[in-house]
């Protein structure tokens, strides 16, 4: 029973949620006891991709600015970390610096992007990412070029992050903070303004939303979060080179937010899980398939492409959408209405969907 508006603002609006999230939290905290180093490493990757996913979700899912160039912000975070730590700086300094550099880069992209809309914006982000990739390759003095850069274990205020469990807790902690930041934004004026910008720029402006500020903030924030993911990414891989920040990575990020469920923060996590789990499934499939097919390279990319197409065709609301339907079914049983989730279609050209 709700008794005040403050109730609606609460993080957990249903009492049941506290139980579920509490259980989830306990399992996540106990993960080092439940799985081995390999499993923890995978979980860490999920966290890293989820952080970047939240970043992209805020920009593309909630503000409606589709970016095909987020690998550039991941790279900014990764390289900033590598370069600063090469100078002997602690991770506690490198991490915020990574976020800052990536965030500034995001603002740099966002400002000229104000004049661009729709596909033009997306292609501009693509072009931007290609240029960044090239700069990383050519600026050998700063980045080592194609030879790349090596990283030691992170040192967080003196504490060495030199084991999988420690790294996992670091990544998990940052993910939780990222999710909180995202949730907070979405229940505050900025989040509403972002959604307004996505759904109707004209109305948003008429209601006092400064499009330039909201879009630039969205870009900066999104980039900064992806930069944080980049800092973690660099340490997880211990070696970075321009080849790890190609357009495929940007596409992978978009995959995360689409398959996860565009328009929901949880979608970022679901999407990250999917992107990490799918290659594992392909590995298993390889053992089951006849050797002729199993030995083929490119099975993973094919699986991703196919998954993307299938999700868009049959479950456009993504994994989170499937989860929401399931939960709704459970809550409204037996008066569940299938049509609740049917999306309206727009058929005239230029209607903007």
């Amino acid at each position: 029973m709700k008794t005040s508006y403050a109730h609606d603002l609460r993080l957990f609006r249903h009492r049941g949620d506290v139980v579920w999230y509490g259980a989830l939290g306990l399992i996540l905290l106990a993960a080092p006891l439940l799985t081995d180093d390999y499993g923890l490493a995978q979980l860490s990757f999920v966290c890293i991709y989820a952080i970047a996913g939240v970043g992209l979700m805020l920009l593309s899912g909630f503000t409606g600015l589709i970016s095909l160039g987020h690998a550039a912000f991941l790279a900014a975070g990764a390289y900033t970390t590598a370069i600063l730590e090469q100078q002997g700086l602690d991770f506690a300094i490198a991490l915020p610096a990574a976020a800052l550099v990536a965030g500034l880069l995001g603002v740099m992209v966002g400002l000229p992007a104000l004049r661009l809309s729709g596909i033009y914006l997306t292609i501009a982000t693509l072009a931007f990412a290609f240029i960044v990739e090239e700069v990383l390759t050519r600026w050998k003095g700063l980045t080592g070029g194609n030879a790349g850069m090596l990283l030691d274990d992170a040192s967080l205020l003196g504490l060495a992050i030199d084991s999988e469990p420690r790294f996992y807790y670091l990544a998990l902690g940052l993910l939780v903070l990222t999710m909180l930041a995202g949730i907070n934004i979405l229940r505050a004026p900025l989040g509403r303004a972002m959604i307004a910008v996505r759904d109707s720029e004209t109305a948003a402006q008429a209601m006092g939303v400064n499009l330039a500020i909201v879009k630039t903030t969205a870009f900066g924030l999104s980039a900064a979060l992806t930069g944080i993911a980049g800092a973690l990414y660099a340490h997880k891989l211990t070696y970075i080179s321009p080849e790890q920040f190609t357009i495929f990575v940007s596409i992978e990020f978009l995959l995360i937010v689409i398959i996860g469920g565009l328009g929901s923060l949880h979608g970022a996590v679901f999407g990250a899980i999917f992107v990490i789990v799918l290659p594992q499934l392909v590995l298993i499939a390889r053992e089951l398939l006849p050797t002729a097919i199993a030995g083929l390279p490119g099975l993973e990319a094919a699986a991703f492409g196919l998954a993307l197409i299938l999700f868009i065709l049959f479950e456009p609301m993504g994994l989170y959408g499937m989860w929401a339907k399931l939960r709704h079914y459970g809550r409204t049983f037996p008066v569940y209405k299938k049509a609740t989730f049917r999306r309206t279609k727009s058929f005239l050209k230029g209607e903007g969907g």
């Binding site: 240029i131 083929l296 390279p297 868009i312």
Partner: protein
């Protein structure tokens, strides 16, 4: 001076390829507002088809090429029928992502086809390794054939759109879908044919490109430059697409020759960003505004 002219010619040649890929891309966009991210991959598949039908199966070059283009048309129609048509009515972004998926799938499947794989293949054409002297310039017949073929194809397409019933129907469908439907034009079928045409043009571009860039699954990256070309041209304009492609091609060639290493690879994208900053709707684009 001679080198400059040589670079320009080779730039024009590759620009023709960019322009053709962009043209196929714009054909679909004009009609359906769908942005086909996989256009570059279609070009790649077309090159592979040509390679298969000529080199692998030993057919004569011209028959092999014809078969490849026909196969591409069928592929385009198939893509429309299976993936695009069910998505009618969905937001543009969803369809765009679906084409990204198609691109990923095409590239990886191409790597898995026996005989294709991730190696580089050569497409032998009647124009390979032959040169033509023109004054002080030495032009490779490959470059020349690309330019000539492009001119011929564009002229053919222009005539097709202007004078043939199907071409006019396509134009009508592109401009006003509802009105075309009311006039009795079978919209769905026209869309499928537009996709077929677009894929065929992409395949044709791949065949033209193969002699100079070799047949390889990464050809799609070259096709990615069709985006800057299309944006330069204003995204809804067919002559603009070709013009955009030519500009990109020439700038790229000159950048590769006069500027330090690496500039050639990003020249297309730098030009794109520069143009968009000044003209957010492309060079020839028209500003469309939602009426409220």
């Amino acid at each position: 001076m001679v080198e400059f002219a040589q670079q320009v010619i080779s730039g024009v040649a590759i620009g023709c390829v960019y322009g053709l890929v962009a043209l196929g891309f714009v054909l679909v966009y004009k009609a359906t507002e769908v942005v086909n991210f996989a256009q570059g991959e279609l070009m790649m598949v077309g090159a592979f088809f040509a390679f298969t039908f000529t080199t692998l199966t030993g057919l004569s070059f011209w028959i092999g090429v014809g078969a490849a283009v026909a196969a591409m048309a069928a592929l385009g129609a198939l893509i429309d029928r299976i993936v695009i048509r069910p998505l009618v009515g969905q937001p543009a972004f969803a369809i765009f992502m679906a084409t990204i998926g198609i691109g990923l799938l095409a590239r990886s499947v191409a790597g898995m086809v026996p005989g294709w794989g991730f190696e580089t293949h050569a497409l032998v054409t009647p124009f390979s390794d032959r040169v033509v002297g023109l004054g002080t310039l030495t032009l490779s017949q490959e470059h020349l054939s690309i330019i000539v073929a492009t001119v011929l194809l564009v002229a053919l397409l222009a005539a097709f759109f202007r004078f043939s019933r199907l071409g006019v129907a396509m134009q009508a469908t592109s401009q006003n879908q509802l009105a075309a439907a009311y006039m009795g034009i079978p919209i769905k079928r026209v869309y499928m044919l537009i996709w077929a045409l677009s894929a065929a043009v992409a395949g044709f571009a791949g065949i033209l490109l193969a002699p100079i860039a070799f047949v390889h699954v990464n050809m799609g990256f070259i096709g990615l430059k069709a985006f800057p070309a299309a944006v330069l041209g204003g995204f809804g304009s067919i002559p603009g697409a070709i013009a955009g492609g030519l500009i990109i091609g020439v700038v790229e060639a000159l950048a590769g020759f006069y500027l330090p290493e690496g500039f050639k690879d990003v020249a297309a994208y730098v030009v794109l960003l520069a143009v968009l900053i000044v003209r957010p709707r492309g060079l020839f684009g028209v500003s469309t505004r939602r009426r409220v």
